[in-house]
Symmetry: C2
Subunit: 363 residues, 2 copies
């Protein structure tokens, strides 16, 4: 372990050590196949077992009902920003987007190329330092869907209250940065999508959970690769999938099961986040986090110090202690610790210790 | 080596053993980073070095001129089948597609959703058992581009003669299955694209080489992720790329340099293919390959036996000798050996030995 850093990267992010070790041990030869995990055919029995197991484990972890498809695509959430409206904004050609930050803005920008987007519950005037309250949300009952971003990596907020009251309009969720970090009632959603590289695996694979009745909305003349039907009908094997990345997702799911599934994972994530927020709140304002407690992200914890000079000094000391990825996003500055599922409690304890020492020395 | 199979998979395919070993050694901790290759940020200095080196090595191997962009995307050649016409079939909205088999047909199908496709030089009437001759090709000087598939994995043909006389119309090439297997004069092409999983790396990354003046054709309202400009302008870092797959491409390029670059690789590939074609041609018709010698693929060698029963028996014996992936594509049947760059000569020698033994025992 001693040659491993404390990895607070926002994504690609830390992966569970047992997952990396199992991957390493199958990199030259996978089991008895005589081939690397990267060399087996996507049409082989070995890979079919891997992708089917990955899907089955995801379904079990999230209790995904049978009337939802679960698929593995490429292109990241950024491609989903377009695939969602291309496939779903096809009835009234209108959609409501809850605007909670940087990535919601990207989703809105792409959807506006396809149809009419209405921004709902924007907290832009407050620098997105909170999630909108229910009484700030009014939805268009005629919209093709409502889109929300469940965790805002850059702003450090997370949708921890209950889902917004969208009625019969399907709720579409970009869950990229808190996917698999806690139980979710999938039945409340029409679509959940997530890039793997925060909690679920490496970059290069994106998971989509979609209620099957919504598949009827996709226009027939869509590019085949951009039509969800293609991938649901072919169980993610229409073309060559990112086999290695899907293999790691399967290993991560197995690791989550051993931790007690998503309920067990959530308990740990609450503990880990609490450690860090307690350090911030107990610093007499030396470290400042602007987010109300009920929407503070358990995944991405942001804080500021009194000056940019002090922040730079803090980051330099963290770096010397092999703490990686603590610089806030360039658009907002400050500090950020991304403490996804696989971030060990020990890394957070080390960070909290540094925060206390630093305040003592520079208070 | 003894636990490694003879891997004749069509893709994902065999990778060079030294590449797999270097990948394995960096799977838990990459160099002195304290993180796995899968855990480093795509915005980190470490990853920037990797992706810049991958691009530089590709440029050097293929002598790519400065007025071409080289980018790494997701979605495979199948997504390029749509991105090519979405970005380039935007002037006359017409394109000529040379129809040489299964994958050319897929490219044609997607392009026809975007504009007017004219099939050129189709060898369909002959089951695509050859590449069209130059006198069978007439091009529309007003077409936005001419599209060809340089190697046909399923049919076992390869475009080994000089490029077709397209005049000033840009030539677009799906080089997925012979990319990096031999030197190519990039200046003769407008675009070359290739999924990595045959010769260049694992599945999950696709390389595109594009002449920069063609970037002006992309409509402004394209989805951001589907616009080549996005990725050229951002050096493939607009969103999180498939970091692990790009790392392996970088290692494969390094391995190719050590073999003497693409000229060295071509020499080896000619030798390897010759071994197998000689075995077929020297079998007195026991093994049959229908392709004329000047367009026999060096990458995918196909052959038939006298009956399907005999083929099944051959494949079973091959399997017992740890030879993997020799079954022909389900659409055509028979046998096929994919002998890409990383397929060792020893594997082909073992296959040839089996072919001789089998003929003796079942002749």
């Amino acid at each position: 372990m001693s040659n491993r850093a404390h990895n607070f990267n926002a994504g690609p992010a830390v992966l569970p050590l047992p997952v990396l070790e199992e991957l390493r041990d199958n990199t030259v030869v996978l089991g008895t196949s005589g081939m690397s995990i990267l060399e087996i055919s996507h049409r082989s029995k070995q890979f079919e077992e891997i992708i089917q197991s990955a899907e089955a484990r995801l379904r079990k972890l999230l209790s995904v009902p049978a009337d939802y498809g679960v698929i593995f695509l490429q292109g990241g959430a950024s491609l989903q920003f377009s695939m969602i409206p291309m496939n779903l904004m096809t009835v009234s050609k209108k959609a409501d987007y809850i605007h909670t930050g940087h990535w919601a803005a990207s989703a809105i920008k792409e959807a506006a190329k396809v149809g009419t987007v209405r921004e709902v519950g924007s907290t832009k005037a407050e620098n997105f330092a909170r999630i909108p309250r229910e009484n700030e949300l009014t939805f268009d009952g005629d919209a093709d869907y409502v889109h929300l971003t469940s965790n805002n990596t850059i702003e450090g907020t997370e949708w921890l209250c209950s889902e917004p009251p969208v009625g019969k309009v399907p709720l579409v969720c970009d869950a990229s940065s808190d996917f698999l970090s806690r139980p979710v009632d999938v039945t409340k959603y029409g679509v959940i999508y997530a890039g793997a590289q925060k909690n679920a695996g490496p970059s290069g694979v994106t998971m989509i959970i979609i209620r099957k009745d919504l598949l009827e909305r996709s226009p027939k003349n869509l590019p085949t690769m951009l039509n969800y039907n293609t991938h649901v009908q072919n169980a993610s094997l229409y073309n060559t999938p990112p086999c290695g990345a899907i293999y790691v997702v399967e290993l991560v799911c197995k690791w989550l099961e051993n931790l007690g599934g998503l309920a067990g994972m959530e308990k740990l994530n609450i503990e880990k986040a609490q450690l860090l927020y307690d350090a911030i709140d107990g610093s007499n304002g030396y470290y400042k986090n602007p987010i109300p407690k009920d929407c503070r992200s358990r995944m991405n914890v942001v804080w500021r110090l009194a000056s940019e000079e002090l922040e730079a000094k803090f980051l330099k000391e963290a770096s010397a202690l092999k703490m990686v990825g603590l610089k806030g996003h360039r658009s907002v500055g400050g500090c950020r610790a991304s403490i996804y599922n696989a971030c060990p409690k020990e890394s957070i304890q080390a960070l909290v210790a540094l925060m206390k020492d630093f305040q003592k020395a520079n208070g």
